[in-house]
């Protein structure tokens, strides 16, 4: 349907959207969590390892990646749920460096030379789109559920949330664990797209990209990522090779500009609230009309 280049590009955009969602969920609960790349690496390596050694089908590898990501995301979450602000941000970032040195020393994961031989999945784009839709619908429903409201309450005022009966500790752990699931899935798709993984890929640069996309798109709604990911990723792909080395700086400049000019990002809460209220109000009016 698409050329190889386009397919490759689109899949990476989807990977980024999933990762940005992975960063968004803890943010909704008031945490600046930088463990997304860590969980992505876990998902990538689990999927890659299973495909390479056992030739398991794509979807089985994804499910395994989710499972392992969930467990390895849950354990540190028990610690992070007791921290906040800058402490969470810094200590979760440290997970990337720890994992990187662990992978470098594990020969069955390819060590420093990287992992090759991940099998080709012919319908990867289709799978990626399906996963994107499933996760997107799930996240939407979650955001508008009892749990989503509890997270938002924690973000606004943890003590207030607690006095409404929210168990802030376990709700935070849940947010971080769910974030790991999104990131691990993104990692698995990424592994099948690249078909070769290096420990250094899952680096600080990746994290910077994700955070830029989150803040540029809008960190309060899931729709921001759908705009910012393709936009920013095409900047770094389609820009002339001569300045591609500068993409880190360009991202940083864009991030700073957006935060100064439009602090909530492109898609703001007011925008989504307007759309949502338009529909809910209309719906309830119709319901009342039917009753009368």
């Amino acid at each position: 349907m698409f050329s190889t280049g386009t397919t490759y590009f689109l899949i990476l955009v989807i990977v980024y959207i999933l990762l940005v969602w992975g960063a968004l969920i803890p943010f909704r609960a008031g945490l600046l969590y930088n463990g997304t790349v860590y969980c992505m690496a876990i998902g990538g390596y689990v999927a890659g390892f299973l495909s390479k050694n056992f030739d398991l089908p794509f979807i089985v590898c994804v499910l395994a990646a989710i499972l392992v990501g969930l467990i390895l995301g849950f354990i540190p979450a028990l610690g992070f749920a007791r921290t906040n602000g800058i402490v969470t941000a810094i200590s979760s970032m440290a997970l990337i460096f720890i994992l990187e040195s662990v992978i470098r020393n594990l020969d069955f994961l390819g060590g420093s030379t990287g992992m090759t031989g991940i099998h080709k999945e012919n319908h990867l784009l289709l799978w990626a789109v399906i996963l994107l839709i499933i996760f997107g619908v799930f996240l939407y429903r979650l955001n508008n559920s009892r749990i989503g409201r509890a997270w938002e309450a924690i973000q606004t005022d943890p003590q207030m949330a607690q006095s409404l009966g929210v168990n802030t500790f376990w709700m935070t752990v849940a947010a971080l664990t769910l974030s790991s699931v999104f990131s691990a899935t993104a990692g698995a798709v990424y592994a099948f797209n690249m078909r070769v993984l290096y420990p250094g890929t899952f680096s600080f640069t990746f994290l910077l990209n994700i955070m830029t996309m989150l803040f540029v798109g809008g960190r309060y709604t899931q729709w921001g990522a759908i705009i910012s990911c393709p936009l920013l990723w095409s900047i770094s792909v389609f820009m002339p090779t001569s300045i591609q080395k500068l993409s880190n700086y360009i991202y940083a400049v864009i991030l700073i500009l957006i935060l100064m000019l439009r602090p909530e990002g492109i898609v703001t809460r007011r925008m989504t609230n307007k759309v949502k209220n338009f529909f809910t109000a209309k719906l309830s009016r119709r319901r009342q009309g039917a009753k009368a």
Partner: protein
Amino acid sequence: MEQTEMMLKISDLSVYYGPICALKKVDLEVRKGEIVALLGSNGAGKSTLVNTIIGLLHAKRGKIEFMGRDITRQKTETTIQSGISVVPEGRGMLANMTVMENLQLGVYRHKGVDFNKNLEMIFEYFPILKERQWQAAGTLSGGEQQMLAISRAIVGEPKLLLMDELSLALSPAYVDIIFKALIKLRNEKGFTILLAEQNAKKALQYSDRGYVLDLGETVLEGDARELMGNPYVQTAYLGA
């Protein structure tokens, strides 16, 4: 006073912030259907008491019983679930969430509560909230926010309602409107209310009994009318 069912019984309660003693051997009782005022000036320990009852703070000594059960060391969410709601100091609005979402959070821990039915009752009491239900809570006026805070606390049909500084930053006319709504709620729904208030005059006017806290100690207690006539209360809290 006739023997009605005991709602809240606090005995010998002491609470510390580090080395600072905020509550010292406090005894307090609230019976079913009563409106009890908890008076005291800035720093007297009213908020500390409210927060200790719901388990946000922990007592060093003493006991808190709710409907005969010891809740002194109970987790906040369990206490909320068992039927205590709080209107926190400074309204505690979740400003970016809509009025409706705020109300929905009022039943976060409440199973078996008919949210829609209670919502209709609340909209009858406070029609303005119905009009504004899709609006962000932070865009309501101060008085409307206070109505929302009360509504959020009662939508889960609590047995005991704790209100911290209800009259804060409200005009006297608005305070009357809100207190009258509370009285009506108590009479119609049988709520029991503990009111922490600096505004002694209004609080005593609308309550049955009162306690006066000073520097963490109960210095006076009694019938609301008696307290209003008490010379100490008059000079210290009523500015007479």
